[in-house]
Amino acid sequence: MSAYTLYKNARLLDPESGLDMIGQIMAHKGKIADLGKEITAPNNANIIDCHGKCLCPGLIDMRVFVGIPGADYKDTIENTGDAAAAGGVTTVCVQPVTDQIMDDMARVEFLENRAKKAKVNFIPFPAITKQLEGKEMAEIGLMSKAGVKAFTDGNKSIANPALMSRVLKYASMFDALIIQHLAVPELSENGVMNAGALATRLGLPGIPTAAETIMLERDIRLLKSVSTRYHAAQITCQDSIEVMKAAKKNKMNVTAGVAIAHFALNEYAIEEYRTFTKISPPLRSEEDRVAVVSALKDGTIDVIVSGHDPEDPESKRVPYELAEAGVVGLETMLPVALELYHNGFMSLLDLLAKLTSNPAKIIGLKAGQLKVGYPADFCIFDPDAPQRIDPETMVSLTKNTPFDGRPVQGRILKTIVAGEIIFEV
């Protein structure tokens, strides 16, 4: 077995440099050794013919929940890794929301150790506050010094403005990225879906978009006096998009993400109380969904995430109000995101930037680009291959997808991490 692997006849797609050409790329010792139209490879190199299919940097998913530690029945690290591989995702950013909250270095190391068994890269995003309680800061300094790049309270907001103000100041000393889930607790804790006519008709308590926008406006206000890097985990409505747009116009150091469900579905997916559509923030109105698509297009939203959150069937087979929020998404992220390309809203490179180079730059990872010296993490896919999303064929142990039966175009053919093929069809 040669230490060199040459991927030839690939449509190389590198969003960062704008590269889009048929060429070759060579991996050596886990890194990209060379790339170009025609490159010289050692005689004994492994050669893999990509048959003209797309080869882009492996996808980086900034929002993934895992069962470990504590809830192995929902998911295991290995299984999350396998699901990621099947979805072309080579880097998974783990949220701290587990049975034992990841809020100190010991738990970060525990996750990193367990993740060695998985096929893809796991990046821990530990908690901002101890036990996600929103009361006291976790050891942001110690964890940053040990290499942690980003912090988040996962699916909880830092609601207390005094604490958030201190968090932002404190994190700025370590150049730590603070990722906020946007939901004013008092406006959202009793709600289970978007507030509006549909919620009224279904008799379900609603969560107004104001719950999200008020929190974002407050954070932007607090950020005016500090230089902390701030990332809004998910923005899902027109009002939040306007706030984010204004902040970016004022050259503030802010970025935003959105989950696939929020640009591919609207609240009407809930019809007949389908609990697999219950997520946080909730699916919004069609107007808001359209606004999210525009914000992806104009760059107001930087990152697309899966929001992968496995929930066991028992917590979904209940009345809507009592069901757990959360959907799986690692395996459907690229095929669903490609709808934006197929529908003519975005170029392939602009779309891939939101899944590769943008998240890498925001987190501060040397990844997400086809560049010599960068990790040889690739996703090889056919953007046109049609398929119907079928939970039964998913690798993920839990199958709670809201996209069941959806016809999509795009199929992952191979996933490569550090030069090794970890998934192929």
Binding site: N190, G196, A197, T200, R201, L202, G203, L204, E272, Y273, E314, R317, V318, P319, Y320, E321, L322, A323
Partner: protein, 321 residues
């Protein structure tokens, strides 16, 4: 063909009765026509027939109820069904797991009719997918309470002779009310003009999209109304701060003769019960026999439920065409 024959041939096009939404005007008319016949039966000395003999009806109430459960029980027994009641005090069965487990257990006992009330919107629909028999929604969360809307419609039709083109005001706590939702759907289907009246905290603005005119001033909303439906203030579902005090609420939204004076002189008053006298309705108004149809509603309830049990079992019994 006489009207009675017509009713006897009617086949309800749904397996379950989960809500008013999705029903057609003709379905509702048939149910009301049939219920009219059961009103007559219920006024006889011998109130019993045997059309449901051999069939089992289980009343499964996850939420406390006396009047609705009794009404369904009487309805089933008067048609000759074997009726079993199963209630659960709120705390023991609140998780949906248990709901579906209960459903599959009951299903194994081969019931023909399941009458279900549950505190969560959509719970009855969820349960209906797991059983083989007909399911009748006796109220799910804040979603629907179809038999209440049907009995209200029967009460109105018998007093006013029609439903279409009447102006009907639904007043009070709309936000938490499944009765209001079912009534808004039904009255729209039947061609009535629907108004909702209440404080902005209890009347969602988006009810316009469901086909109701929204009023926050009681007198303005009651002007020219043919029917005034009052709703119970569901304080048990309110976690603080929907209005300042009961006395302010009664002053602004409690139905009394003064506010009623702007409605049509023969406007009828309805309430699904149980009433909070002095909160949403003045005691004198509630007891005014010429105006109040509240007792009639209870009577119509049994007849309407008999009609529903009848039509939902017709295929099974080989009745109708």
């Amino acid at each position: 063909m006489s009207e009675a024959d017509n009713t006897a041939d009617f086949i309800f096009p749904h397996q379950h009765l989960l809500g008013i939404e999705g029903l057609k005007e003709q379905d509702i008319n048939h149910i009301l026509d049939l219920a009219d016949q059961y009103v007559e039966q219920n006024r006889r000395t011998n109130k019993k027939t045997d059309i449901l003999t051999g069939l089992t009806q289980i009343n499964l109430f996850f939420e406390n109820s006396t009047r609705t459960r009794m009404s369904f029980e009487l309805a089933g027994k008067r048609l000759g069904a074997d009726v079993i009641n199963m209630s659960s005090s709120g705390s023991s069965i609140t998780k949906g797991e248990t709901l579906l487990d209960t459903a599959s257990t009951l299903n194994a006992m081969q019931p023909d009719l399941l009458v279900v009330r549950h505190g969560s919107s959509g719970a009855v629909m969820l349960l209906s997918r797991k059983v083989n028999c007909a399911v009748l929604n006796a109220g799910d969360g804040k979603h629907e309470h179809p038999t209440q809307a049907l009995l209200d419609a029967l009460t109105i039709r018998r007093r006013k002779g029609k439903i279409a083109r009447l102006t009907i005001a639904i007043c009070g706590d709309i936000l938490h009310s499944r009765v209001a939702r079912s009534n808004i759907h039904l009255l729209n289907i039947m061609g009535a003009r629907v108004r909702v009246i209440g404080p902005a905290t209890l009347v969602p603005e988006n009810l316009k999209e469901l086909g109701a005119e929204v009023f926050h001033d009681m007198k303005e909303g009651l002007k020219g109304c043919d029917v005034v439906m009052m709703l119970r203030l569901q304080t048990e579902r309110m976690k603080g701060g929907y209005f300042p005090t009961i006395s302010e609420y009664f002053t602004l939204y409690g139905l009394d003769y003064n506010k009623l004076s702007v409605a049509k002189p023969d406007a009828m008053i309805m309430h699904p019960g149980p009433m909070n006298r002095g909160v949403e309705i003045d005691a004198e108004v509630a007891d005014d026999l010429t105006r109040s149809a509240i007792k009639e509603q209870v009577e119509m309830g049994v007849a309407v439920r008999m009609a529903c049990l009848d039509i939902l079992t017709r295929k099974k019994r080989g009745a109708g065409k």
